[in-house]
């Protein structure tokens, strides 16, 4: 058996290391936790084929209804990956999405023709 002080020291080091990791982790998590998007209808505005303000982030729990609207100045097809919902949008037009969040995970919506990601949808269990 190894001597007691060494064992205690090693144990303490390991526990401290784990704690430090945990703290940095929970901190970085709380920084980026976006508020749940249920109830709201987010509008993603597309200018010159790119989402204004970067890729939109939507977070739902399973079973809720995902709602968002795309206002686009270009004509393209909006593809909600994973759920595989496709809707065409005309230049200057808009298109609305409303579907139940039945799949857990992280999914992208793209302007399919341009391969431009406009939305990251997170569905938590």
């Amino acid at each position: 058996m190894p001597s007691r002080p060494i064992r205690v020291a090693a144990g303490a080091t390991a526990v401290i290391a784990a704690l430090v990791l945990l703290i940095t982790l929970s901190k970085s998590n709380s920084d980026k936790t976006s508020s749940p998007s249920s109830g709201k209808v987010t509008t993603i505005v597309i200018k010159h084929g790119k989402p204004v303000g970067g890729i939109a982030q939507l977070t739902y729990n399973e079973g809720e209804t995902v709602r968002f609207k795309v206002d686009s100045d270009v004509s393209d097809e909006v593809h909600m990956h994973g759920y595989d919902i496709m809707k065409d949008v005309k230049a200057g037009g808009s298109v609305s999405f409303a579907f139940p969040a039945t799949l857990e995970g992280v999914f992208e919506a793209e302007l399919e023709g341009r391969k431009e990601q406009i939305l990251e949808l997170t569905v938590n269990p």
Binding site: M1, P2, I6, R7, A10, G11, T13, A14, V15, A17, A18, L21, L22, L25, S26, S28, N29, K32, G54, I55, H81, G82, D84, T102, L103, E104, G105, V106, F107, E108, K115, Q117, E120, T122, N124, P125
Partner: protein, 466 residues
């Protein structure tokens, strides 16, 4: 956002994993610590895994498995699949998720064979297309010339270093190369096919120079990489007989070839990097990318360079953690020379490398294999008009795995990999140190190394990709 990292895995699959929640991370990490300390005080005092206790299974089974028709068939299947992948890559669609080549090479083969190898033994060997070509050509040469082809003697110091470098190159192609104007798009089928052609030429050349079997043992990336995982399992074809051995035991002799340590470290590092690229390292990569592009480099070069730097840093970091552990063990009384310690504990990282693979790619594999055996089988070139088996319109059922199921598999894989690695290290220590007390003391260092890798793995899984 510029510099969005999108490695091939994510170009393929529409559903990405949710980060593991903080409470599960905490439980996983605590479990690792508790298990580790319990293991240290409760494990055995004399080596038990150094003896393989290999015993051959039925002679008839061996004869069937090694018969010429079976070998020829396996080799032909391997060559045909490689050839078809290259064809699909060159002539099929450039949409990564609709082309047979990407899913087959990067998911079915690259992620599938480590799993098959652990379960069934070194199954890549009979299907290895380059080995099949090399042996056929070698056989024809011998038949015509009446003598075996002569080879250069392979520099033994080089060992498995070419395989380690090749492993990094494959992953580099997969997660770094595919860039378009500062935006990572993942590698495309055409580029993958070209890379496969170049690699085939290189491999056949090396086989001509050094001999087929020699190159498969040391330099051929896929043989070495998949063969490493096969060492964990119980089945082996040895000296013309098919047999079984105690689990894990064969790994204890794996790292005797120089450069093996680099191979297993490259494996852990490349999986880590793939996981961290979009998560933990993302901010830093974007910063380096912006800094590089400010110096006047093109966006594409800057992003590739930034990712390459971080990939190499990950390799160096993983290697450093291991080397610190080895240094630490050297300080314990009665330690063997540093050289021996360095290669002597390398195999203890194989289970961790495997656990990293399972944790990072399990869900991708499950989802993408549905595509492989569904629409990619019926419409391999992604033309939209072919339907060979009537499955061209089949989709991927993302509901087969819930987020919770994925999390438990991920954490479970890391904890189990940790325990197995720890067990191997403990066993090796009892073999190296005659005195059990010193052996146990040396293992505080390996314990620290393993805890570091496992907690790092958990951490990578818990960081949200963005």
């Amino acid at each position: 956002m510029i510099g969005l990292a999108l490695p091939v895995a994510h170009a393929l699959v529409a559903r990405k994993d949710l980060p593991i929640p903080a409470w599960l991370f905490a439980w996983g990490a605590s479990l690792v610590l508790i298990v580790s300390f319990f293991a240290l005080s409760a494990l055995w005092q004399t080596p038990r895994l150094e003896d393989e206790r290999w015993r051959p299974l039925g002679r008839r089974l061996s004869r069937a498995l090694l018969s010429l028709p079976v070998r020829a068939l396996c080799g032909a299947v391997g060559v045909a699949l490689l050839g078809f992948s290259i064809y699909a890559g060159l002539h099929g669609t450039e949409a990564p998720d609709r082309n047979f080549a990407l899913t087959f090479l990067f998911v079915t083969v690259w992620l599938g064979f480590p799993l098959f190898s652990v379960v069934f033994g070194d199954v890549f060997r009979p299907f290895n297309p380059w080995r099949a070509i090399g042996r056929t050509v070698g056989g024809a040469f011998a038949a015509i010339a009446g003598q075996r082809p002569a080879h250069l003697s392979y520099p033994s110091r080089l060992g498995r270093w070419p395989a380690a470098a090749g492993l990094l190159a494959v992953v580099w192609l997969e997660v770094v190369y595919g860039v378009n104007g500062g935006v990572a798009v993942g590698v495309e089928p055409h580029a993958t096919a070209i890379a496969a052609l170049v690699y085939s030429l290189y491999t056949l050349l090396m086989m001509t120079l050094f001999g087929v079997e020699k190159w498969c043992e040391t330099g051929e990336v896929f043989s070495v990489y998949f063969g490493m995982f096969a060492r964990l399992g119980i089945f082996e074809l040895r000296d013309g007989r098919f047999g079984r051995r105690l689990p894990l035991t064969s790994s204890t002799r794996w790292a005797t070839v120089p450069g093996s340590t680099a191979v297993v470290i490259a494996s852990i590092a490349s999986t880590s990097f793939d996981g961290a690229q979009e998560g933990a390292f993302k901010g830093a990569i974007v910063q380096v990318f912006e800094w590089l592009s400010d110096t006047g480099l093109s966006l594409t070069t800057s992003l590739r360079l930034a990712n390459t730097i971080f990939m190499l840093l990950t390799f160096a970091g993983v290697g450093l953690v291991y080397l610190i552990g080895v240094r630490g063990m050297e300080s314990v009384r009665g330690a063997p020379p540093l050289e021996k310690l360095r290669s002597g504990f390398a195999h203890t990282l194989i289970p961790i490398a495997f656990a990293y693979l399972v944790a990072h790619y399990f869900s991708l594999f499950v989802f993408q294999e549905q595509a492989q055996f569904g629409y990619l089988l019926s419409d391999p070139l992604g033309t939209g008009t072919t339907d060979l088996f009537g499955t061209a319109s089949a989709g991927i059922d993302f509901k087969v795995l819930s987020a919770n199921a994925i999390w438990y598999v991920q954490v479970g894989a890391l904890v189990i990999g940790h325990v197995v690695g720890l067990t191997l290290a403990h066993d090796r220590a009892t073999a190296y140190w005659g005195d059990y007390r010193q052996a146990a003391r040396s293992q505080y260092w390996m314990l620290a190394v393993m805890v570091a890798f496992t907690c790092f793995g958990l951490y990578l899984l818990s960081v949200a990709n963005s």
